[in-house]
Point group: D2
């Protein structure tokens, strides 16, 4: 889970891998997208196996499990390529990256032995269950699932919904309360690993997203029993596990969204250069060019913000602001990019003839999942303002410049020049 | 003019200079802003002299003229600090940077001898006259000023307006037509150096901006004669001179705008932390935090775009797209930042009690000068789309990846890793 | 087709009908929406029959076919109520209103006899086929379908796609070229009525919209023969037929979109008042209130614009600007309203548990169909500017004020006071 | 103050007066704007006298004081014309309308006798002092000015700033606390009439707005004594006086802003039709047309919202939501209109050659004065949501439809048809 645990066992250069991924997506994945959109599992499996054979699988897993890169910032260019197709993260095994790092970092050794290899080989899939029906999003205070320790086993009762991959996961990390409401929420939650074939574990419904089932399910756990050592981290340490996963996950997902946004931009630009559109001079229209420029600016801005966030995670700096701003920004960028591309494609853009309609729906969910925009704005705004709270001290102590605006002034390239980090502290 | 001619004769580290500039602005300039706003020339002169004495003057002049940095990307952190006050660029001599580089690069040796030292020492000031009344902005095709070579002298007739610093400049670089309309505009224009005391050179009016004269003047040149060697570059090479100056100038000005935008952000945040505002919980309001987050996101995004543009100029890459996008973006960022700060300050924000009212007016002009937004969007959109025009070739020749999306994929930090530049070419 | 042909045979007051429709939608339609979403034809039929029995069917058909209102402005409040459910316009027969008016106005008497009664009774459904694959939207110049008169029959060859209701229509109005490219497009097009069981008429595919088939089909007409009198209007008069239908249709559809937008607003506001959301104070958050206020403002603004457009159509005034602005605005309003409601509902908002996901998809198509935003902006902008083209005349003839800004100053309530219409001309 | 007190003693038709005002502004005021901008008092006085002579002065004063219209909705078309020039409201005496209605409604008869006639004749001017330095905008809770009754006189101590017209007012309505903090703010405030020549009344400074003094002053009242009957309304009833003035004032000011916005739109459109701009095809550019269409849409929408608000005031309905939404919207419209016009005019737009620079500065203040945007959004959002608070009752009592969405469904034209008001109650 910690970026420090990232490792490098690749003999290849980054550009070489990036190129392979790009070619694989371009030549193998994208031509099969219409099949994959119909949920063709055999095609998916075939592509996954091919990616494994070519050494393109699990690129950001821990070193001992085959990962290639030890720094998130190194993985980003690769991740963008993986995700130019919505099916990329499944095919390259990246959908398990978060689960693997979480288990690798927090699970008991016995649990690791049970599951890590199988996860890394793609033989099994894990899921993560936090959100509950009737509560407000994923606000930890409102969670009602419980686990009680009874004779060496956790007895779990929970209702969860909109749980990704729950339809095909062999194990689910379930967030539960191991304390009552008298315990502060920061010490109330725990995360338990639950095998999907445990007695009392039920998939009670499939949640549709925009009219289609995409793997999200509603779960009920009735007196499910799991061994005591199936807890990630210690009892009441769930918030730490959740937050680490969340920040790490936000950066990864933002990068995948960026890959899709770039794809939309590329599609839009190529489309404008087709003979048919040249004939009517579409690319000469200012409102069309405005689409192009706005998306381009958004892409470049979001890419920079993601890089900053990843860099802070890599360097064990407080990354909360950077991560949330990157997520907010990339969500906007993907929404803008796919919306613009649809506008250029017209009716075809909302039809089954392009991946845009599907990406458009995904884009809408990005402003809700991983923290709704409103919650993130409020939280980031608070954090940013805190940086300015001891104004009087700063102003009275000019000889000792403080670091108040560090997160603002420190741009990625500058942060790489050691000398400048001092400057960052000045500002 | 060329970034290659940038040089470094500073023994100090960048962070050390940055710190000095920041302290100077904070302690010397900002406390005098209300005096400076009243056009107090003696105060201005005193600060300029003080900056010189402290070795903080002309930081980005050519090496031989005292400049400290050879790369634009190195100068950016400094430039942001210089420009936290609107008066900074005058006090630190940065208002002459463009003129000095232009003369250094394009002027005849005799002309350089005449003027460069005086410009660099701040004893004289230069101006640049392109825009004409009755024409559309600075569209080169519509320029009507003329110069004809007569017995070793250029005879100039021109009307120009909204010419910055014209009220105190000792020499003016005037854009003229040296060919008639049969000559393509790319070969029609030339740039001539005109001493302000030349016979026939008249300041016929002062242009007010938002009700206040800020140095812009309307000029008439009636049969002004200047020696043949007062031309910058060759006859008909004006467009090259203009464009180089423009791109370089756009990046510098964007950085100055960013410095002001950061100041507005800082002011807004500190203001929200005053006792008075804490008492009414202003910083807890979501709409207030939204202001903070949006400005922060804009600042970080624009800073990254400026860095990219500067980096391309430093590396002699085609920088047109990057420069224009940086200008568009920073103009928006400054507008947003000062607008938000005013909203937080309320009536005081539009009064004379803060610099915000003045910055707000400046911000409005940024969307017109150096290319109106609409013109830039159209031009950048066209350039971006051109990158996608030979799609079919690219798709049929997979073994030879092209560089079509270089400007998109190449983020600043990545571009510094040589290995990645190959990736950039792949995409 | 002409508003003049609207008639009134209702003994009821408008508010009484509005109330009935509202109750019907609230009590009969909305509770069945999840069934209807699964394309339950028997449920749909049952609701349609019930609406007929209650005299709530075909409310805006021509008088002789049972319509109740002779003015579009009178119908608007009703139309909003009909469309609070996406299924309303089908259940109340409003999906045939355009076709019935088109036939009533343009069809040969024999054709009317054949089809009008059946359409008005809901026994058959009509469709309208303009858009073609491989062309740019519905730009008339690019249409390639042809019809040639041969021995009293039109021989039609055409490819069309994204044709609404084509899967269940018994007749299709097909836009064809009856002249070659030498004929100006304004005289090149004609509209022919084609029975869906005609030989050579093929549904060759179902177009999916956002992954789901919603009735749009791809058609091929291979040497289909229809009698000479099956043409609407005369040969080459297709543009007039198209444009009348389009303007009338834009106002109707905008009203239906507004009804949906109002539903989204109501849902969002009620949701914020649930116990669960009160418990976490969601309605007290400023970013939430911002959603509410922005949608409210948009709703009121669009309602006013629709009313203006309808009023101009009712009064046989040039309505082109008003209609297009109403369409642009209502499309934005629906997009904003459903987007905001989804944000309030969170994951449920994109699930199958609310109608929001489906409305969101519809909202996206509104910016493409009936004229893409970009095309409308360009067209309206041109028309508005034309009002100002003879500036010099106006300024030199102050004693005879012109009507230049009529469309701007004439607000709905003012236009109802005759005295003011003169004022409108002044301004 | 109450709309009911509005009266009509005009024999003329509204269109006739509207036409006269329009011609007066066009022919008399606008040509003198550059003089007026230089604060030429004699020119201002001459125009005021001319307006009086032509019977165009004080158009919305109470009947007995020469007003022409008894309904705000009738006055709106006139008000728009008056305000096409920023100097209109001064010249037509409209700057005193609020003060006159306030005194007419709330002042003691003796005070009326003293001042009303002089105000209505334009011989004296009144001012209104609420905002205080060091407090947050005009939040009533934070006001610190006091008045204590001593032997038949109110002894006033107050500091006020940003007080409009204070530099030339003969009397000032001052908001004071007549109770201490133990008294709820709704009963703590009172409004007192203070002659500007009272002992202890000092103008201690001139507040500049965007660098220019525009009449706003900073005031100090040190133990100023005014007779007991100089209070408007009763002791502790200040909030009612303030709120009535505020709502009425917001609608009037919104209308004046709209008049300016319409002027900007007209200027922009005419400018685009000049020969010079035609030559470069500016009006054919889509980004230019986009400016035109967006401003047009905003104008029409705001005009409709103002009309709704005025209509509710005329009809003594709860107008709070409508008034605040109209203010929010018109402020945005003016900002957009003048910003777009400046963009079209380029450098001239920010120069002294057009009124745009001045209008731009005014536009910025509209988002602060009369309630900052953020405060209004929060307040309106709360009120709108309150309409939905008894959802459960409504849903359980379908036979008794409630009026929850009245403010939404009731559009201006509909509200004029009595039958529809019932519908409004249904929705």
């Amino acid at each position: 889970m910690k970026p420090t645990s990232f490792c490098s066992n690749s003999a290849e250069t980054l550009p070489s891998v990036v190129k392979k991924i790009r070619n694989f997506v371009e030549n193998e994945v994208i031509p099969q997208e219409s099949l994959l959109a119909k949920n063709d599992q055999s095609e998916l499996l075939a592509l996954k196996e091919k990616a494994k054979r070519m050494g393109l699988y699990g690129n950001f897993y821990p070193e001992k499990l085959g990962g290639k890169f030890s720094r998130l910032t190194d993985y980003l260019p690769l991740a963008e390529e993986e995700s130019r197709s919505e099916y990329g993260p499944m095919i390259f095994g990246s959908e398990s990256t978060l689960d693997i790092h979480m288990l690798n970092h927090y699970a008991d050794e016995a649990v690791k032995l049970n599951y890590l290899e199988s996860l890394a080989s793609g033989n099994i899939v894990a899921s993560y269950a936090m959100t509950e029906p009737g509560t407000c999003g994923s606000i930890p205070d409102t969670l009602r699932a419980t686990a009680q320790l009874k004779e060496g086993y956790w007895q779990i009762n929970a209702k969860k919904w909109f749980i990704c991959r729950a339809d095909r996961a062999q194990l689910v990390a379930v967030v539960v309360c191991t304390g009552d409401e008298s315990v502060p929420v920061s010490q109330r939650l725990s995360v338990l690993i639950v095998p999907a074939d445990a007695e009392g574990f039920h998939i009670v419904g499939k949640n549709k997203i925009f009219g289609q089932h995409q793997g999200q399910c509603e779960l009920e756990l009735n007196n499910v029993m799991v061994p005591e050592n199936f807890m990630l981290g210690g009892k009441g340490e769930g918030m730490a596990v959740i937050e680490q996963r969340l920040n790490f996950g936000r950066v990864l997902r933002s990068t995948y969204w960026l890959g899709l946004a770039q794809r939309c931009f590329d599609m839009m630009c190529y489309r404008l250069q087709t003979e048919r559109n040249k004939a009517i001079g579409l690319a000469d229209k200012q409102l069309i060019r405005q689409h192009v420029v706005k998306v381009y600016q958004a892409l470049v801005g979001s890419r920079s913000l993601i890089y900053r966030a990843a860099s802070e995670l890599d360097n064990h700096l407080p990354a909360d602001i950077a991560v949330k701003v990157a997520k907010l920004s990339t969500s906007q960028t993907l929404s803008l990019a796919v919306d613009s591309a649809i506008q250029i494609y017209g009716a075809e853009g909302v039809s089954e003839q392009t991946p845009l309609a599907s990406i458009y729906q995904l884009a809408r969910t990005t402003r809700i999942l991983d923290g709704a925009d409103e919650a993130l704005i409020s939280s980031v705004g608070k954090r940013l303002l805190n940086e300015y709270s001891d104004k009087h001290q700063e102003y009275s102590d000019k000889t000792k410049p403080t670091c108040k605006t560090t997160p603002i002034y420190k741009t990625p390239p500058i942060s790489e020049t050691p000398a400048i980090s001092e400057k960052a502290c000045i500002s």
